[in-house]
């Protein structure tokens, strides 16, 4: 008998649709074009980070250091400009730092074969500590006059659409192209699906893994620049926040399994939309902080439980290290 089966992506999309419908009907001011744009704008940075995480997770890894890449290089840009360097020089330095950081991550994971969870946990702390100890004067690096014009990366609109949404869209297109249209993208899926088989078939798996972490760090840095431009400062303390869990949540909720090899940009978009809708609706309803956490927790639990009922773990493919 053929059973009706849903995958996680469809379940989350259904939850999103139900929530969206309920809010549209019962919440005045939810279903307006302005509010829809705000909704997207508020989760744009989270979405961009989700893309970075997706690349790594598809390749069967995880990048806990993403928030450090978000906070430190863009913070360095603001700090350098504040200290009197030119904006292009600051940007180049930040990008070089980001690439170096990605290379270290990738080398540790691909060549030294440290599990990605521990490697990035450590390197993230290292980079954040370096920023705090040596690069920044204060936790919150303020915008300065030398940055004039750069705030357009995160503020204002392009053709009526808030810039941060446009940035998210651009990032989506770039990552989708990388994953679906290039050979490297195909390699990432292959490695995520079965790293040993990938290696046997002659895929240069170690360099590809390094590439994943470099790209992820660069996207993280880009997200940080958009964020800094949007709030006119870089609160580098964000490294200590729970943002990384939200990023993992977006990815996993969207249906990119942590065991690798599955999912794509669409999943990130769906995960981001669900989180965005929930946050936006609850802000409009002026639900208290504790209440919001409760609702978030319940919805996420429901999604995960439903998924585990409909798609039980397969003992053959399940492996150590799955979260």
């Amino acid at each position: 008998m053929k059973r009706l089966r849903f995958n996680q992506q469809e379940i989350v999309f259904a939850v999103f649709a139900v929530l969206f419908l309920a809010f549209s009907i019962f919440l005045r001011g939810f279903l307006t074009p302005e509010n829809m744009l705000t909704l997207l704008q508020n989760v744009a940075v989270l979405g961009i980070l989700g893309l970075a995480m997706a690349i790594v997770v598809i390749g069967r890894g995880i990048d806990i250091s993403l928030i450090a890449a978000l906070a430190v290089p863009p913070g360095l840009v603001l700090q350098m400009v504040q200290n009197g360097h030119s904006l292009p020089a600051a940007l180049v330095t930040a990008v070089l730092l980001t690439i170096a950081f990605g290379l270290v991550n990738g080398w540790l994971i691909a060549y030294a074969e440290v599990p990605s969870l521990f490697a990035t946990l450590a390197t993230g702390l290292l980079l954040a500590g370096l920023g705090q100890a040596a690069l920044f004067q204060l936790d919150v690096v303020q915008w300065s006059d030398g940055m004039k014009g750069f705030e357009r990366l995160g503020q204002g609109t392009i053709l009526g659409i808030p810039t941060s949404i446009v940035m998210f869209a651009i990032a989506c297109v770039v990552v989708a192209f990388l994953l679906r249209q290039t050979r490297w993208g195909a390699y990432i899926y292959a490695i995520g699906d079965n790293p040993y088989a990938a290696r046997v078939t002659g895929i240069p798996s170690r360099p590809i893994i390094v590439l994943q972490y470099v790209v992820a760090a660069l996207i993280g840095c880009f997200a940080g620049l958009v964020m800094a431009a949007s709030v006119n400062s870089m609160p580098t303390r964000i490294f200590n926040s729970t943002l990384i869990y939200d990023v993992i949540l977006v990815v996993v909720l969207g249906g990119i399994g942590l065991s690798g090899g599955r999912g794509g940009v669409l999943n990130v978009i769906i995960g981001t939309l669900l989180i965005g809708t929930m946050l936006n609706g609850m802000t409009i309803m002026d639900i208290s902080y504790a209440g919001q956490n409760l609702v978030k927790g319940v919805v996420l639990l429901l999604a995960v439980i439903t998924d585990s009922f409909l798609n039980p773990r397969n003992e053959e493919t399940a492996q150590q290290g799955d979260i």
């Binding site: 204060l138 919150v140 303020q142 808030p162 949007s230 609160p235 964000i238 946050l279 802000t283 902080y289």
Partner: protein
């Protein structure tokens, strides 16, 4: 000619008189009896400083200010930086109690965590000065802002700005667990109780996070474009609040009141740019000077730790467009560190 001679005589006489008197005066140097014990009381003493974290304008400013005042007297400074980790802070305080510094300067993360420890420290003979965020235990001294007053004055300004407008306001709180946030909220409530015409359309916590504050404010502004004012709880976070107001094109229409330590980039420049309409500053250098003064007084008094207890609430500086340009309204961390 005659006149000149007379003048010369007078001068000579005066000089003679001076010659007689001068040695006598020079011999009468007076020893000030209290400065030596004061110097002795300070020299070699250790002051331990436990902020909630270093690396932000307030705690860096206090540290630089106190150091400047006390190091010339031979006072040694020790920082324990828990970096926003309450447990690490409690451990630092615990280990300090056994190390017995002369004074502990404590910035509490909340009202309860350190309270018992601070009491123990004073029983052990360590003076405890609590700064800006107090605990349930009242120690030798509290130096810091009165959060309730900040909440009240910010809200009063917002209420005033709302006169004749929609009377809709929003509140952007800090972290729910922080005493500073809860006290400020109490101040806000005090004023709102007197103004039933004011409607609070949103009162949410943004966790001291600028990005969260921006997200919340954006949504609130979309729902209530006629909002007339926002009470924010910290300028470092309300950069986000102000960015949302600016993006909605409502700068100048929505009155943004906030508070902070008065560092130039975080306060005066943002008021000048129109991002904030009011920033209640608790002027960190003055606070630091008061902390240092209290340390000097306590050490030189010889009073038993915990036998005297007092408070020094900061006189707030309201920073508005009028005084944002002045040299004295704000301060620079780099200057304070010199």
């Amino acid at each position: 000619m005659k006149y000149a001679v007379r003048t010369a005589k007078v001068i000579a006489a005066a000089l003679g008189l001076a010659a007689v008197a001068a040695p006598a005066l020079a011999q009468q140097g007076l020893d000030e009896p209290f400065q030596k014990p004061f110097r002795e009381a300070l020299a070699g003493k250790t002051v331990a400083y436990v902020p909630v974290a270093m690396n932000f304008d307030l705690t860096e400013g206090w540290y630089a200010g106190m150091k400047k005042e006390l190091e010339p007297f031979g006072v040694k400074f020790e920082i324990r930086d828990p970096n926003w980790n309450t447990n690490a802070g409690a451990q630092a305080v615990t280990s300090l109690i056994s190390e017995k510094p002369a004074v502990m300067v404590i910035h509490n993360p909340d009202v309860q965590t350190y309270a018992k420890l601070l009491q123990r420290a004073e029983n052990e003979g360590i003076y405890v000065i609590q700064i800006n965020m107090g605990s349930a235990y009242r120690s030798s001294a509290f130096v810091g802002a009165n959060w309730i007053e900040i909440g009240e004055r910010d809200t009063e300004a917002v209420v005033k700005a709302c006169q004749g407008k929609s009377n809709k306001i929003a509140i952007v709180q800090g972290a729910l667990s922080a005493a500073a946030s809860a006290y400020t909220l109490k101040g806000v409530e005090n004023v709102l109780a007197k103004h039933p015409e004011i409607k609070v359309v949103s009162s949410q916590a943004a966790d001291w996070d600028a990005a969260k504050a921006k997200a919340i404010t954006q949504t609130v502004l979309k729902q209530n474009p006629d909002l007339c004012g926002i009470v924010g709880f910290w300028d470092g976070m309300d950069i986000g609040t102000a960015a949302a107001v600016k993006e909605a094109g409502l700068t100048g229409k929505v009155f943004v009141a906030t508070s902070g330590g008065g560092e130039r980039k975080g306060a005066c420049e943002l008021v000048k740019s129109g991002a904030f309409d009011l920033n209640m500053s608790y002027d960190v250098p003055t606070q630091a000077a008061q902390m240092a003064g209290t340390i000097k007084w306590l050490l030189s008094s010889g009073a038993k730790a915990g036998s005297v207890k007092g408070s020094e609430y900061t006189t707030l500086i309201p920073i508005t467009k009028e005084n944002a340009d002045s040299q004295t309204a704000c301060w620079n961390l780099s200057d304070l560190k010199k």
